[in-house]
Amino acid sequence: MEPASRYRQLSCALGGTKLVGMDVQPCQETEAEASLLKALKASDERAFVELVNRYSGRLLVVARRLLNQEQDAQDALQDAFISAFRGLAAFDGNSTLATWLHRITVNAALMKLRSKRRKPEQPIEELLPKYYDDGHRQNPGPAWKTTAAQVVEKAETRELVRRCIAQLPDSYRIVLVLRDIEELDTTTVANHLGIEIGAVKTRLHRARQALRTLLDPHFRGDAS
């Protein structure tokens, strides 16, 4: 049993005591999930309906982050649930259902990406910093006028950031999403994509720089 699962059980046994430093689910949620899992393993049809209703919204968001086309995201969500239904018997409850389904959805979305015909990508170089021969950056511009925390408070700026991420070339966008948003580690991303760790780091760095370039006109100090 994973440590998180052990601590979750211990926390519940203690009547819901919060264990310092541990990211544990609330006990009611844990018990509801255990009950749902039991019903799923017993092939209770109502449990499958509850599973889909409870998790499909947040999982569709995960698929949309990786796949720019809505139909592809919906196909990936359907593929993910089919994989989950097939894999339920082997699911041992060592992670939460949400974590398990999230992982399956990421895999389904990446499979969908691989199955699609690769279109030629826009080069990313245009979005990277330019330098003079002596190594100084060209047109550095002013500092950004707002912090990330201030920006993300507004729905319209979050939408702006999402639109800018969607503009990145796929091979860079996917790495940025998996590392910075899904928070997978570099080795896991390399394994998912079948590329070297060094290539993940290079693509991530370029993706962040390109995204910074796209956001710069909106957040720089001289913007009105």
Partner: protein, 81 residues
């Protein structure tokens, strides 16, 4: 160190994986280059905005799922039984 060298290796600096002597060279460059101080701040802000663009606080934003997609998923399950 030039601004280009600083920015090219910024990811390693930001992740704190550089050896102490190299990190000291980055810190020294930052102490004399306001443009790179600004670039580092905006690079870190970009990273944070990417994460936050899909969440409200620590909670991810759920999507509206088309009812027909829910039905298709449940139907696929029934046919698989």
């Amino acid at each position: 160190m030039t601004c280009q060298e600083f920015i090219d290796f910024l990811l390693d600096y930001d992740e704190g994986v550089l050896p102490a002597d190299q990190r000291a060279r980055f810190d020294e460059h930052l102490s004399v280059c306001p443009d790179c101080v600004n670039y580092l701040a905006s690079y870190r802000a970009t990273k944070a905005m990417g994460k936050s663009a899909f969440s409200v606080g620590s909670e991810p934003l759920p999507a509206e799922v088309p009812p027909e997609l829910i039905q298709a998923i449940l139907s696929a399950h029934k046919h698989a039984e």
